[in-house]
Structure formats: C-alpha cells, structure tokens
C-alpha cells in the first residue's frame, strides 16, 4: 500500500453510487477528488461536504474504516464507529471515551497542525535536514545524531509519535530524504467528504450540554455518540425517506430515536407521501389499525413506529419487511398481524429491542423466514397440535411457556401454534420451544407428505432436544431417514450417554459420532444409495446398542459399525484405510480430470492423518483380530508384533513445561490423559507374554483410544479448511478432542457443538475442541481462521463470518454437477445482467426488475439501483449487484414471464435454449441443490439451498454467522468463473476452497454487517483468478484441465 505522499489518494469511487445516501444519482455532485471520478452527464449538482483534516487514508486508518470505501461512506462509517466503539457504558448515555476515540481525537488535532504546516498549498515541504524541526515537533520525533547520511529518527514525544505511526505518516520516506539531498514533499490537505443533509442540520442537532461549541461536523460526531448513531441510521435510509424524516420535525427531534432507527430503520420507506408497509397496499389498513396511524400520513405513522412499545413495533415492522413479498402477504393479514404482534409483545415490552449492543431477537427473524406452509397455505406442524401441547407442558421452565401451555389445550389451528412461537422468540434460549419447532420443521418439511414425522417421533425428538438436539441436523439433511431410524438413533445415544466409566464413555461417543460423521459424508456424496439409507443407518448404529459396557465390546462395536458402513458403500466389509479415504475423497470418476481431483482430495485427507500421526485403521483392525485369535488359543501371527510396535511410534511433542508448571499455568486446560494412556500402551509386551490369558481376551480394548482418534481424524481431515495450520502442526489436535462433556454440568456438552478450548494458553498444550462432532466444518474453520493472513493492514476479518464462508466452501462437493449445470449458472447470471442493462432504456422493464429485487434489497439499495439505471450507469450497477441477485433475477423473471424474451440478450437466448434441451439440469431446484450453501444456523440443515434472502444483520448470539449463511453468491460466482475459463465441474472441488480462502484474505471491512466488503473481496479474487495469478490448475497435454 503506497503512503499518501507517494501517490494520490485513490479511494474507490463509483459515479452512480456516489452520494447514494444523500442524493439521487442524476444529481450526484463532483467528487471530492475529482481527478479520480469518471465524468458523466449524471454528475450535475454539487452535494454539501465537510472537511476531514489531512489525507483520507490516514483518517480512515485512525477511524478504523476500510480504505476501499467511497468518499460518501466516510461520515456514515465514522458515525457508526463512534457510536459503537467510541464510548464505554450504555449506548443511550454519554459514557467514557474509549482509547480508540481518544486516539482519533488526538489525531484530528495533530492533522490540523500538519494541515496548517502544509499551508494554503496543502503540501508539507522540508527542504533539508536542518529545516525538519517544526515538522518533527508535530510528529513527535527528533533526529538521532546530526544531519548527514547516518541520521535517523527517534521518538521524542511518544503520544505524538504513536499517532504519526498509527495514521501511516510516511516516516521512512522522511528519514530517507533527511539523509540525502532530496527535499521532503508531502501533500497534506484536508479532504472534503459529502455530508448527509447539510452541516447546519447536524450542528443544530448536536447536544448542547457539555459545552461543545464547534461547528465542525466531524468533531461533533466524535463528541456526541447519540448524534453519531442518528447519523449512521439516517445514512442507511433511502434519500427520499431520509429527507422526509428530516422534514417532519428536524434532525434534532429524531435524537431520542437514534437506537431504534439504527437497528430497525433501514426498511422504512416513504414514497409519494405514504409509508410502504410489509404486505403492500392491501395491508395498509392492518398496519393502520396496529399502529394507530395511517401509512398515508407518514409523519404520524413513523412517529408511532418509533415510539410504540419501546421499539418492539419497529422491530416487528423491520422483521416483516425483510421477507419476500409473498411471505409478507401472509404475515400482514390483518388478523395475523395483530395477533402475532400481541404474542410477540406479551405482557411486557421491556427491555426494548434497541437497548442491547446487538439486535436481541434473532429467533423472530428466523421464525418468519423459515416458517413452512402446507399446500393449503397453512403453517406446517411437525407431528400434530396435540404433540405440541404436550411438548409445551413439558417445557415448564419459563413463565411465558407455561402461560401458552395452558392456552394450547384450546388450540384448533396451526396458526395458534405459530402465534405462540412469536411469544417464545423473546425467550432467547437455545433449547426453547421455538428452537425445537424450527428444528423439527426443518426435519419434517424435507419429507414427502406421506412420510412426515409421526407425533410420537416429534414428542421423542422434542423431549431429548436439550441433550441431543444439535445432532438432529443429520435428520434434516437426509429425508430418507424414517421414524424408525430416528428412534433407533435416540435409543443408541441414550445408551451410550449412560455409560458410567468416563473414559469408556468418551471413547464410545468419539467412535460413535465419528462413524455417524463418516456415514453422513458418504450419504451426502450419494455413495450410499437413497433406498439404502435407513438400512445402512440402522446397521451402522446398531452395533453400539448391542453392548458397549467394556472397552473390548466397544472395540467390537466400532469395528462392526465400520464394517457395516463399508458394506453400504462398497459391498464389502473389509475396506482398507486407503480405500476408505478414497471413498471419502469422492465417488468413482469416469474421466481423468475427475480421477485426478479425487486423488488430490484423498491426498489431503491422508496428509492430515499423517500430520496427526494417527495409527492406520488397517493396523488397528488387524491387531484386534490378531489378539482375538490369540485369546482363542491360536499362535500370534508373524506381523502382530510389528503392528503392535506401530502403536508406540507416536511420541508426544518435546515438553516445554514441567508438570508442576502446567498445573500452575494451565490448570484445568491441559489434559493429556487420553494421549498419555496411549503412549503407555504396550501390546507387544502382552503378545510376548506367555501367560497373558484373560488379558489377551481384553487386549483389544486397549486399541479403543487409537481407534477413536483415527476415526475422529478422518472426520477432521475431510473438513480440513483451506490453509489449515493446526491440523498440520499440532499432532495432539485430534487426540485432544474432549468428548467427556466435563466442561458442562451433566456432561451434556458431549452432544453439543464443540467449543474451541484452550486458546492463548502457552502452557495448555494447544487449543482443542471440546464437545461433539456436530457442526465440525464450522468449528474447524473457526479454529483455523486466524492463520489466514489479511492482505490489508487493519482489515477486519470477523470471527463468525469467516468460518461460515469457509465451511460453505469445504462442506459441499461438486462430483455430480454436469457441464450443462455449470454453464446454466453462468447463463443465469449473465441473463440477469443483460436484463438490468436493458432496463436502463426501458422504464417498464426496470420497474419489473426492481419489484423482483425488492425481496433481496433494502430500500436504499433499490433506490440507488433505480437512479443509476436511469442515468445509464449500467457498469456501476453490475459491479455492485451480487451474483446471487443476478442469478435470482433471471430465474424469477423466467418464472414470472415465461414467454417474454424480448429484453433478453445472447445469454438469455442461450439459457432458454439450454433449458429446452436439459430442463432438469437448468432447473432452479437442481441448481439450488448443487450451488446453494448449507444453512445449519439459519435453516437447521446442511443441505445446500439457495434461499434468496437479504443479507442478515448481526444478531446477539450469532454475530455475523447468519450473514455468512445468507450470503449465497460465492459458489455461484466461482462456478461462473470456472465455466468461463473452461474448467470441468469437478475442478470446483479444488477451486472453491482455494478461491474462498483468497477472498477471505482480501476482505477489508469496517463492521460486522459490511457485506459490500465481501462482494469487493470476491470480485477482486475473481479478477486475480481470471488473470491466472491464483488457483491455477495443472495442465494435461499442454492444456488446462477442462
């Protein structure tokens, strides 16, 4: 990255999206840095601006803002960071400034000084070393030694010097020029940035207490977090609405509503003197009734929206606004709108939903997003209403649930159940009735009508949800698993859970969950036929029901389970580890390129197994058999001793701490019991012993810990995130997986999603996972994500988004994708682009497209797209529309207007032709199944699906994980790139993780909801890929694999 004195500031500037927050596209004014702005007829009217002291690059560094934003985003993001990061204490009061804000304010002062030093010309000039004094004094440095070739700079004033460094002042260049004869020349002028409304509005709205008398909007925002939050909120509304809001009562009057507007204001849209409400015009009367004001009277309606029920009404409005138009119609029915809201509100509106740091009620949005309907349009009910009445009676740990359980006895319709779920959405429990309902709905709705869950199964699943619920995602992924399979599973896990010996229990859980994990992989890859799902499942889990009360029996159960798995997938029971790995790597491939990719996938799995120094399955099973035979009186096989020796090959890493040091510095975290047990296992001694007798009969139990690790290792290896380091450098990582559940009372954690344990504890032996193998792809990505090196200084790579993106690239495989499918993905995206381009000249088409896109875009974005298309800025629009959106646009347009091909270009015509030849391969369902992302948190399923959602905001308990799962553009975009570059579909197995990894390196975001940063990173990665800079694939016969 070039320092500001060496290059002109080159912030990314988009003509069309310029001033999108404050002005229409045709009225966009000249850019602050006009040298970088493309000229266009769209540029007409100057916008109000304020000056940021010094170069923008430095200011953005200090303000924690991405360098890749456009100038009009500077003040909104500054306001956001001040409101969120600037003050400690409650957000609705002025707390103590944080260190971040203190430094930012100091920087502003220092920058002011430097601007003054730069003079009217805006350039700092130091002709030679002798004249460096004034500049160095501001910078906080002094000369070390006398002027000359050896002179260097050293800190004189640490406070100032820190700002100098932190803001990226080109100190090294200054040092260099001081040593030579070349003068130091550094442009250092203030940078104008657009301001929403006008500076006067913000000066007038600033708090008056505290004695602030500045008219400088930047300083006002720094000193007033409420004003900053209001600015951030209004800046995300469409310009017409924001202007109307200001007009109602002035900016100052909106101050009390800054929190509500911030969280729930971005979907308020005022058009032609009325508020657009979820459900459209036909729902206006229902909203009027609920609000006590008509949408025809925006001032009154918005006022009610903001004040009613401490923000819950606004939250409700916002949540329903995020739905697709069809869903909105359902919820905005006057009866439902009223009843569902009353249920949500309950008896008490406190605490309001705008008070916490994050939005507090993710379950409300999940409920309305994922509610499923039957053919008559009624919400589906897993089991029946009686089952739910019973479930609620059993969940009596909450007053709200108890109240609804009493009412449930009178329920007549499924809507009453849904009504209760609105109430439960505020409970905020991972194990509450709403979570059960969402999970069971996800399981039930993938099943054909005639094979839905029985009420008995529903009750059973609900009863055991708090303990085993996080294992249930396998049932939503495989619709073929019937009630009997589910019941058998619950029976087996109950049995395993009751094993009293903790060591045995941990090994049993590890082996069982690993086998289930391997079955899941093979079934997902369709290597287990759909008609064999139930049989193979029950055969695979049943050995664990036969008796696992001792280690030898557990070994037998594990072996038998593996044999059943092998039989299901290959027809034979004695697969070698290499054969199993090859099967995990993927199904048989008919073509060389597929075979090559499959071998690479197998190599990767093998690589992890080697890095973890795990004993081969072949060795373990042969040992088990040999010991069995010896126990039956046969002579020891020749190879038994060498096999036993392999168990002793593993060595612990050379210890860096003594036992007492570990006890003192990592108490409760370092637990090597499982591994130590293995290093002490000496089967060779036993085999050589002439009087082993009974010991030999039990000896195979000693292999159990090794068997567990190898099976767990296969699961880890399959989901290896790209760029993984822990998996390859900490040989204890797999062995340390803690299945004991001892980290939670009752041991229930053994069945829950694992936590990463022991991070940042040098004496703790390294981090490891503790819990079950549920959600393993995400948790492994979580454990490995900090090894991804951001390309940009200060880039925010946030902790829930990245594992979500990475696991969406590691979990899916693309073995069954045809070339037609791959090409169809491209054509859908291109067709969407063609439609948008055509709409620039066709207002009618544009309205149609915007109507389609309204289900995926917030009003501000829709407005920007509209204005830009009006202005003919098609390229700007296409660079900012997500691949998922163009894909959806084309698909939905085809669905709504099947014969209307006038507006289509070449891609549209080709798509139509392809669809006529291969309708199944071009169908939405097929492409959704193959190119969608898994949604374990959002939709309680690992099945791939394109959900067509707006990017989810950050929520309490999820942070940006839901955003990651609502981001469905990556795989579509990577597929398009692969198709355009002529790669075979199987190459996606390699390309997708690699491109996703590179994309994450490039993310340069400002906040947890900064999805445009993801889009930028994705497109930059695509560009590098097109140029052959990354992810180049091997050539065969002088050509790229295709």
């Amino acid at each position: 990255m070039k320092p500001p004195c060496l290059s002109a500031l080159t912030l990314r500037v988009s003509l069309c999206f310029l001033l999108g927050v404050s002005a229409y596209c045709p009225a966009s004014g000249p850019l602050p840095d006009s040298s970088t702005a493309p000229q266009s007829a769209a540029v007409a009217k100057p916008a109000a601006s304020v000056a940021v002291p010094g170069p923008l690059r430095s200011f953005l560094r200090m303000a924690g803002i991405s360098q890749k934003i456009s100038p009009e985003e500077v003040l909104p993001l500054l306001a956001r960071n001040v409101a969120v990061e600037g003050y400690q204490g409650r957000k609705d009061r002025i707390g103590r400034p944080t260190e971040f804000l203190i430094l930012l304010k100091r920087y502003v002062d220092q920058a002011d000084e430097l601007v003054r030093l730069a003079g009217p010309e805006g350039v700092i000039r130091v002709p030679d070393c002798e004249h460096a004094g004034p500049l160095l004094a501001i910078l906080g440095y002094q000369l070390q030694g006398t002027c000359g070739k050896q002179v260097a700079l050293e800190t004189a004033d640490p406070e100032r010097a820190f700002l100098t460094i932190d803001s990226g002042f080109p100190l090294a260049e200054l040092e260099e020029t001081l040593r030579g004869t070349k003068p130091f020349v550094c442009p250092f002028a203030s940078s104008p940035v657009p301001v929403l409304f006008s500076p006067v509005d913000w000066v007038g709205a600033a708090r008056t207490e505290g004695g602030s008398s500045t008219n400088d909007v930047v300083r006002l925002l720094l000193e007033d977090p409420v004003l900053a939050r209001l600015y951030w909120a209004l800046a995300r509304m469409d310009s017409e609405t924001a202007a109307a809001m200001k007009q109602f009562a002035g900016v100052a009057s909106l101050r009390p509503f800054a929190p509500v507007l911030d969280f729930y204001g971005s979907h308020i849209s005022i058009r032609n003197g009325r508020v657009l409400v979820p459900g459209g015009a036909s729902a206006e009367s229902a909203w009027k009734s609920l609000a006590g004001a008509s949408p025809d009277s925006p001032k009154e309606f918005v006022a009610r929206l903001l004040v009613k029920d401490d923000g819950w009404f606004a939250a409700y409005f916002d949540t329903l606004s995020r739905l697709t138009p069809a869903r909105q119609v359902y919820f905005a029915d006057s009866h439902r709108l009223q009843h569902f809201y009353e249920a949500l509100l309950g008896r008490d509106s406190s605490p309001g939903p705008a008070r916490p740091v994050f939005r507090p009620d993710p379950d409300l949005l999940l409920l309305v997003t994922r509610l499923q309907f039957d053919s008559s349009g009624q919400p589906t009910v897993p089991g029946d209403l009686q089952a739910w009445q019973q479930i609620l009676r059993q969940k009596s740990d909450s007053r709200v649930v108890r109240d609804w359980a009493r009412r449930a006895s009178h329920w007549k319709s499924s809507e009453e159940l849904v009504e209760a779920m609105f109430a439960f959405s505020r409970i905020g429990s991972d194990e509450g009735p709403l979570r059960i309902y969402l999970m069971l709905n996800a399981i039930d709705n993938v099943r054909p009508v005639d094979r839905r869950l029985s009420p008995q199964t529903v009750r059973l699943l609900a009863e055991k949800f708090s303990r085993y619920g996080q294992q249930y995602l396998i049932f939503s992924e495989f619709e073929g698993l019937n009630d009997a399979s589910i019941a058998r599973f619950l029976e087996v896990v109950d049995r395993l859970d009751r094993i009293s010996n903790l060591t045995l229990r941990a090994n049993a859980l590890g082996i069982f969950q690993s086998d289930v994990g391997l079955w899941q992989i093979l079934a997902r890859q369709r290597q287990i036929s759909p008609e064999n799902l139930n049989d193979s499942w029950q055969r695979m889990i049943s050995p664990f029901a036969a008796g696992t009360n001792s280690a030898p029996l557990l070994f037998d159960a594990g072996r038998a389970s593996l044999q059943e798995l092998s039989r299901a997938v290959s027809g034979k029971t004695n697969l070698s580890q290499d054969e199993l790995i090859k099967l995990l790597a993927g199904p048989n491939q008919p073509h060389p390129e597929g075979q090559q990719v499959r071998q690479e996938m197998a190599n990767r799995i093998q690589s992890v197994m080697e890095s973890q120094r795990l004993v081969s399955l072949d060795t373990l099973l042969a040992l088990g058999q040999g010991l069995n035979e010896m126990a039956q009186g046969k002579a020891a096989a020749n190879d038994l001793l060498p096999l036993a020796g392999q168990l002793r090959e593993f060595e612990m890493p050379r210890p860096m701490f003594t036992s007492s040091e570990r006890s003192e510095w990592a108490a409760g975290f370092y637990n090597s019991r499982h591994t130590s047990l293995q290093t002490r296992t000496d089967l060779a001694k036993l085999i050589k012993s002439s009087d082993a007798g009974k010991q030999l009969a039990d000896a195979r139990g000693l292999i159990v810990p090794f068997l567990r690790d190898t099976l767990v290792g296969l699961n880890y290896a399959y989901y290896e995130p790209p760029g993984a380091q822990v998996l390859h450098n900490n040989p204890l990582f797999v062995r340390s997986h803690d299945f004991s559940g001892e980290m939670a009372v009752g041991g229930g954690q053994s069945w829950h999603v694992p936590h990463v344990f022991g991070t940042g504890l040098p004496a703790g032996g390294g981090a490891h996972l503790a819990g079950s193998l549920a959600d393993l792809p995400f948790v492994l990505a979580e454990a490995e994500q900090d090894f991804i090196v951001p390309e940009n200084v200060q880039a925010l790579i946030w902790h829930e988004l990245v594992p979500g993106l990475v696991s969406s690239s590691t979990l899916p495989r693309w073995w069954g994708v045809s070339r037609n499918e791959l090409h169809a993905v491209t054509l859908y995206q291109r067709t969407g682009e063609e439609l948008l381009a055509a709409s620039a000249q066709d207002p009618t088409l544009r309205r149609t497209l915007l109507d389609i896109l309204s289900g995926r875009m917030v009003p501000q974005r829709l407005e920007q797209i509209n204005k830009c298309l009006q202005a003919g800025a098609v390229d700007d629009v296409l660079s900012r529309v997500m691949p998922g959106e163009t894909f959806f646009l084309a698909a939905e347009f085809r669905r709504r207007f099947p014969g209307q091909t006038d507006s289509w270009g070449k891609a549209g015509a080709e798509l139509e032709h392809l669809a006529s030849l291969h309708p199944a391969e071009v169908s939405w369902k097929r492409l959704s199944d193959d190119f969608g992302v898994p949604h374990p948190a959002l939709a309680q399923s690992y099945s791939r699906e394109l959900l067509n959602l707006k990017p989810f905001p950050a929520f309490m308990g999820y942070s940006s994980r839901l955003l990651a799962e609502s981001w469905d553009s990556n795989n579509l975009y990577w597929a398009r790139l692969a198709d355009e570059m002529g790669y075979a579909p199987v190459m996606l197995n390699r390309l997708v993780p690699e491109l996703t990894y590179r994309m994450v390196e490039k993310i340069f975001a400002t906040d947890f909801e900064d999805w445009p940063a993801i889009l930028r990173a994705m497109r930059e990665t695509g560009e590098e890929f097109r140029q052959g800079k990354i992810a180049s694939l091997p050539k065969i016969d002088g050509k790229y694999e295709r």
Binding site: P3, T155, L171, E176, R604, Q725, N730, P762, V789, Q794
Partner: protein, 365 residues
C-alpha cells in the same frame, strides 16, 4: 497452502538441485522389504564460544564431530559467518585435527586446510533474517520505542543478509517479504499498526514455515512483549518445527522475565532448543544490546550440514555437536539439540513440505 508458495517452493528446489545435484540413496539390498523414507539434509547453525564468552573463529569442518542418535555423521557443507557455504570434500569425522590458531578478542583457529570444496553461490551466502514484531495490545505502551529499536536493528544489519519483516497481533502481517533492500524493510517497520490480541505462537509458526522455504542460513528474531492470549498452537509445536527446519529463534522480550513467568520460560527454552538466545530487555539500551548480540551471533555462526546416516528412528532424533582436540576442549557450543524428521511427502497440499532442503531416499527395513 497457497499456490504461490508452492510455486516458490518448486523454484527453490530447482535451484537447490542445480547447486547440489540430486543424491538419492539407493535402496538396500534387493529383495528386502524396504520402506522409503524421505530424509532432509540437516542444517546446523553452531555458535562456538571460548571460556571467556568470545566467539571462536576459523574452525574447519574436521574440528566438529556431529552425531545423531549417537550415529556419526559426515559434514556435507560448511561455512562461517557471512561467508558462502562450501561443500566439504573430505570426510569430516576422524579427519586431521586442526592446528592451533591465535586467539584474540575473538579466538581465531584458522588454517589453510583444503577440506572445503566449491562455493555454493551467493544464494546461500549471508543469513535470511526474519523479524517478527509484536504489535498487539501488550506492546501498546512501548510501541513507538520498540519500533525505533527495530528500525535501528535493520539499519545496522550489514553484509549480505536478506531481511523479512513481519508483525503480529491476532493475525500475522507480512509487512515486508524477504529482501536485501533495507529501505523497503524500514518502510515495513514504519507502517505497523498497534492493537488487538496477541497470537505469538501462531505467528511464529507461520514465520518459521516461511523461513524454512528459503535456502541457506535463516534465523528468526522475535521482538515481543511476551504474553500470548490468542494462539491455537502451543510453543512446543513451533519449537519442534524450528528444530526440524534448522532455524534458530532469537527472542527479545520487552518485559522483565519475572513479570511474565510463562512467556519468559518459553522464550528461554525455545531459543535454547533451537540454538538461538533469549534476551529480557526492558529499556532501550538493553534492547540495543540484545540486537547487537544477535548481530554478532549472525556474523560468527558456523553453518554445518549433513545427510543423516540410515537411522530407523522416525521419532525425535537427538543431535550432538562436539569439538575435536585438546585446544578446543574448553569451548562451548550452542546449537539445536535435535529434530523430528518431517512426514513423508506423498500427501497433498496441506502438508508442510517446504523445508528448503534436498529430499532424498533412504531405506530401512
């Protein structure tokens, strides 16, 4: 592993092949069941000090006896300080004893022995110095002074050394990749930004891996406040990797040892295990002294390498380096004390297979 790194590795191997030629070990007798084990050339950086703590210079390959698990090894290449490493054309162990030389401020034991072969070229002359700078919240208070100290260290590194400058907090930042251009490194130093958690051992692991991809001598210099609150990997894994790659780690802590016993323990043991040094330097003066000491070390380290003799041990292998002869009896040696052979290389991309040394095939039953 990213493809760019992989390409670089292949390029490195190609160069290595030109310099050394490929010397595959033939399998043992035909008909035996052979296990093919890939063995890296083992590289040692050896500091030799006399009883007064002065560096001993001018030693020859035959002055050293290297054993691995007690098995005598043949020194394959040899170099001293910043001079180019040379291939040893005569068997070192059991060779002529060195003649006594005139010890001075640094003891000199040089003679005109011709046991060294051709130069290996400039690629392996000098050291590749990887600096890892702590920019976490722990370093916040002394950040600007620490940056000055590192800038001074970079300026003072003369000779043919190439320098890379990395920084870390929660994530690693490769501010300046390996270069001989000091001004580029200084720009990297001056663009660091402070803040966030500290994942020292994550970052050090990545740094050692990067360093290991380069030919010739390489060292890692860590400048840190000490604590780690975000690493996934333990220091043991980093130390083992550095030992396996033959990379000494020098660790400068800007915090007093007694204030952070965990980190100070790691710093001491990790540097000792890899053949580096640990310094606890709270003040500017102490930091300057620490850097001067590292500089001095780099200028006086002997660089030895050998191809391991057949050794069935696939686990930890202990290395012993001793000096031959009465005159050197009182000298002290500092080098790594062992290594664990890297895994076999049949596997895919994820494997850390870029040790920068020549793979060869050995055989054992």
């Amino acid at each position: 592993m990213r493809p760019m790194l992989k390409r670089y590795f292949l390029f490195s191997l190609a160069i290595w092949g030109v310099c050394f030629g490929s010397v595959p070990r033939t399998p043992a007798q035909e008909g035996e069941t052979n296990i093919r084990v890939e063995v890296d050339m083992v590289q040692l950086n050896v500091a030799v000090m006399d009883s007064k703590g002065n560096y001993v210079t001018g030693l020859r390959p035959s002055d050293f006896v290297v054993t691995e698990d007690g098995i005598p090894q043949k020194v394959a290449t040899f170099g001293e300080g910043n001079e180019a490493t040379r291939r040893v054309t005569r068997n070192a162990p059991g060779g002529d004893k060195p003649e006594g030389r005139s010890p001075g401020g640094s003891s000199n034991f040089a003679d005109s022995s011709s046991e060294l072969g051709s130069e290996l070229g400039s690629l392996v002359a000098g050291a590749n110095v990887f600096i890892l700078f702590d920019t976490s919240n722990y370093m916040y208070r002394g950040f600007v002074f620490a940056q000055d100290a590192i800038a001074e260290f970079v300026r003072s590194l003369d000779g043919p050394d190439r320098v890379a400058f990395y920084s870390y907090s929660r994530d690693l930042s490769r501010a300046t990749t390996l270069t001989a251009d000091r001004s580029q490194v200084l720009r990297g130093v001056r663009t660091t930004v402070a803040g966030d958690d500290a994942a020292l051992y994550n970052a050090l692991l990545m740094t050692v891996k990067d360093a290991g991809q380069n030919e010739g001598r390489k060292v890692v210099v860590v400048f840190s406040n000490g604590p780690d609150n975000a690493s996934m990997v333990p220091p043991e894994d980093v130390a083992e990797l550095a030992q396996s790659k033959g990379i000494p780690i020098y660790m400068i802590s800007t915090r007093e040892a007694k204030l952070e016993p965990v980190s100070s323990t790691v710093f001491k043991r990790m540097s000792a295990a890899t053949g580096g040094e640990a310094y606890f330097a709270k003040t500017w003066r102490e930091q300057q002294n620490a850097f001067a000491s590292i500089r001095n070390d780099l200028a006086h380290l002997y660089s030895l390498s050998y191809y391991p003799q057949p050794n069935p041990n696939r686990g930890w292998r202990g290395i012993s380096v001793k000096l031959v002869g009465e005159r050197l009896k009182k000298c002290h040696i500092r080098t790594r004390n062992g290594y664990r052979p890297q895994g076999t290389r049949a596997s895919g991309e994820g494997v850390a297979s870029t040790s920068g040394s020549e793979p060869e095939a050995a055989s054992s039953n």
